[in-house]
């Protein structure tokens, strides 16, 4: 049972970045723009968030407050970076795949460059202790207490909160309705007076916001507050895309998909702790590959019936 708690406790901080970035991707794609630059956005947000932490870590601030400030910085940087994609895709009608790839390549290079210049290392290392051993009071609840309120990070709670907010905005507001219309049938939206260009900018901006936060939460929860230009975010940006497709662009499904993928990954690193798996004596590398293989299998099954936003990737042209 302890192992089970351990697995869940370790899955959650890994799932949250996937969840947030996938949600961000969902907003963009549902507005009609393909965002392949998520990997880059994550790293960008992580980088600035960690820099912020670095600045603040020696002040006497509460670690969680530092985390929140870092998160806000990461969010803003994410939005700014995603504007590069927005401009290229929406105004210049450039190929969205190439632009996304360029932006993904730019960031690790920039991070490495900066880190080597300023710190003579591959990234940013911080000293902050974000880890929460026990949440007062709540950690005493049987079962749930151990699952959610012990050995965790603030990122998990913020992540769930953002999920709820995002879902509400997506389905219950005027904005969400209009955004979704632009990704399915931009001509219909245009014919009722909605500005498709503006909506798509918002869509991309939101993915920048969530992507930046997701990246920062990745470095907090998975990399212990560090950022590395070589390993970046280990493909989480792309895994998030897979989570998004697997979740068929719907928030609740995305939640389950990210939990599933994060669980596989956690399993990979915890093999030695699970006697049953340990005895199978399977090389750890296979476990590490699991999320990626699972993604491919998921794609094979969903591509047949996949219900991607109809107008995604197609630049909006009023004359049509």
């Amino acid at each position: 049972m302890d192992t089970f708690y351990y697995l869940i406790q370790n899955t959650l901080p890994v799932a949250i970045p996937l969840l947030l970035v996938a949600l961000g991707g969902m907003f963009t794609e549902r507005s009609g723009v393909i965002n392949l630059a998520l990997e880059g956005v994550m790293l960008f947000g992580a980088f600035f968030g960690c820099l912020c932490v670095l600045f603040l870590q020696n002040s006497k601030m509460n670690p969680q407050t530092v985390l929140i400030i870092g998160m806000l910085i990461a969010a803003v940087s994410g939005i700014l970076y995603s504007m590069l994609l927005a401009f290229a895709a929406i105004n210049m009608k450039a190929d969205q795949t190439i632009t996304g790839t360029a932006l993904n390549m730019l960031i690790p290079a920039a991070v490495l460059l900066f880190s080597k210049m300023k710190f003579n290392s591959d990234g940013v290392t911080t000293d902050m202790k974000f880890y929460i051993k026990e949440v007062p009071v709540l950690s005493k609840i049987p079962v749930l207490g151990q699952l959610f309120f012990q050995n965790t990070y603030l990122t998990v709670f913020i992540g769930f909160l953002l999920l709820i907010i995002a879902t509400i905005i997506f389905y219950k507001t005027k904005f969400g309705l209009r955004l979704r219309a632009c990704g399915e049938h931009p001509q219909a939206a245009d014919s009722v007076g909605i500005s498709v260009y503006l909506m798509r900018y918002f869509g991309v901006g939101i993915s920048g916001f969530l992507g930046g936060i997701g990246g920062f939460f990745y470095s907090v929860g998975v990399m212990n507050g560090n950022v590395n230009g070589h390993t970046g975010v280990a493909g989480f940006g792309f895994l998030a895309l897979a989570v998004m497709i697997f979740g068929q662009w719907k928030p609740l499904n995305i939640l389950f998909a990210s939990l599933f993928f994060a669980f596989l990954r956690t399993l990979a690193y915890s093999v030695s702790l699970i006697p049953f798996l340990n005895s199978l004596n399977v090389n750890q590398a296979y476990y590490k590959m699991l999320p990626y293989v699972a993604t491919m299998i998921a794609l094979i099954f969903t591509s047949k019936k996949s219900r991607a936003p109809k107008a995604e990737g197609i630049p909006f042209d009023k004359t049509k």
Binding site: A88, A94, T99, A102, M105, L113, M289, M296
Partner: protein, 382 residues
């Protein structure tokens, strides 16, 4: 008014010219960006540093060719696939897989010196082909988007190769976390240029580029490929077998990228008794992504790619030399990424320029087919 001055002859030339100027524009913008970074980092050395980036490569010509070879191959992989409308972002994984197959044959098979390295190279090609086949097959038969499957195969390939290497006691030296030195018979013969590892693979790579050029432009297969990349509806109308063509294209692209990996790892070392080594530390091969830059700059044409790879290698050498002035070579990676970003619009500029010339020519003709499709060299599938 628009008589002989604006003949279609000029138009054709200007289309090719605009592709070149588009690439040039993207390059200039990237370099300017790099220069700005240099100024921010260390203003007093910036002019010297920038100058080094621009001309440093000339003093290291052997190395320029040496380092150009792997990205020439990955550039060919990406460019060839582009011609058919496919984005081979999996070049890194194919490169790594090719490298592994080459290593395996190098270490585990004992063959006479004259053919050992040749067999290794072929093994590398096969490794890449297998790795290219996977996304190709999934795309052709299950309509799965090749970008995400390729990215996944990049990671899977990386983990597999690292695992296989680490598990092989002949290949791997745990204390150094690197592969062992390859036997001399497996290494590609050097060209004997002083201070450089440049070797026969350069010739092979260029020969392959020329071959691919011939395939694309002179064979019926190339005819079908380019037709499909330009207009898949017309290809369907003409009865072309798109499923088969997608798979063959990805096999060729994969093979090219695999060769890139093989060439990189089988290169001879200037220090006798040693060789190139690989460090299996779960990193995606950068040369795969640089291949994308090469393909875009070379406008997906094999001959253009040869020059683009030389250019990229040239500024990379310059960047390494700029370290003399205190600059980190990573600046060049940033420059390359910026070049790619701008070349995505640069193609749009090429379209706008071509359209502009076309409008002038066609101004007088009554044409009720008002909506023309824009001239796009790269066909994407969303």
């Amino acid at each position: 008014m628009h008589k002989s001055k604006f003949s279609p002859q000029k138009l054709l030339k200007s289309k090719a010219l605009s592709a070149f100027t588009a690439a040039l524009l993207a390059i200039i913008l990237g370099l300017i960006f790099g220069y700005i970074i240099m100024v921010i980092a260390s203003p007093e050395n910036s002019l010297d540093g920038f100058n080094m980036v621009l001309v440093g490569g000339f003093s290291r010509l052997g190395d320029v060719f040496y380092f150009a070879t792997p990205i020439l191959m990955t550039g060919l992989a990406v460019g060839f696939a582009f011609k058919m409308g496919l984005f081979d972002i999996g070049a890194s994984g194919q490169y790594t897989m090719g490298m592994f197959f080459a290593l395996y044959v190098g270490f585990m098979w004992k063959l006479p010196g004259s053919i050992h390295w040749i067999v290794c190279i072929i093994a590398g090609m096969i490794g890449g082909m297998i790795w290219g086949f996977i996304p190709g097959f999934l795309k052709a038969y299950m309509n799965v988007h090749e970008v995400i499957t390729s990215i996944m195969t990049n990671y899977i390939g990386m983990y597999l190769v690292d695992m296989w290497i680490q598990g092989n006691s002949v290949m791997y030296v745990p204390s150094k976390t690197r592969t062992a030195y390859l036997p001399a018979t497996a290494q590609i013969p050097s060209l004997g240029v002083a201070n450089s590892n440049v070797n026969v693979s350069v010739y092979i790579a260029i020969a392959i580029a020329i071959c691919l050029y011939v395939v694309l432009n002179k064979t019926t297969f190339g005819y079908e490929l380019r037709a499909t990349g330009f207009n898949k509806h017309a290809s369907h109308y003409a009865g072309m077998n798109s499923k088969r063509n997608i798979i063959i294209t990805m096999l060729i692209a994969g093979g090219a990228a695999g060769l890139g990996g093989a060439f990189a790892i089988l290169a001879p070392s200037m220090i006798t008794g040693s060789s190139m080594t690989y460090e299996p530390v779960s990193v995606i091969a950068a040369n795969g992504f640089n291949g994308i830059a090469v393909a875009l700059l070379g406008n997906s044409s094999p001959i253009g790619i040869i020059f683009a790879s030389l250019f990229i290698s040239h500024i990379q050498r310059g960047g390494t030399l700029a370290a003399l002035f205190g600059y980190k070579p990573e600046i060049i990676d940033v420059v390359i990424a910026v070049i790619i970003y701008f070349s995505a619009f640069a193609m749009l500029m090429q379209t706008t320029v071509a359209k502009y010339f076309k409008k002038h020519r066609k101004n007088k003709k009554p044409e009720s087919n008002a909506n023309e499709e824009p001239v796009v060299t790269l066909n994407k599938e969303a």
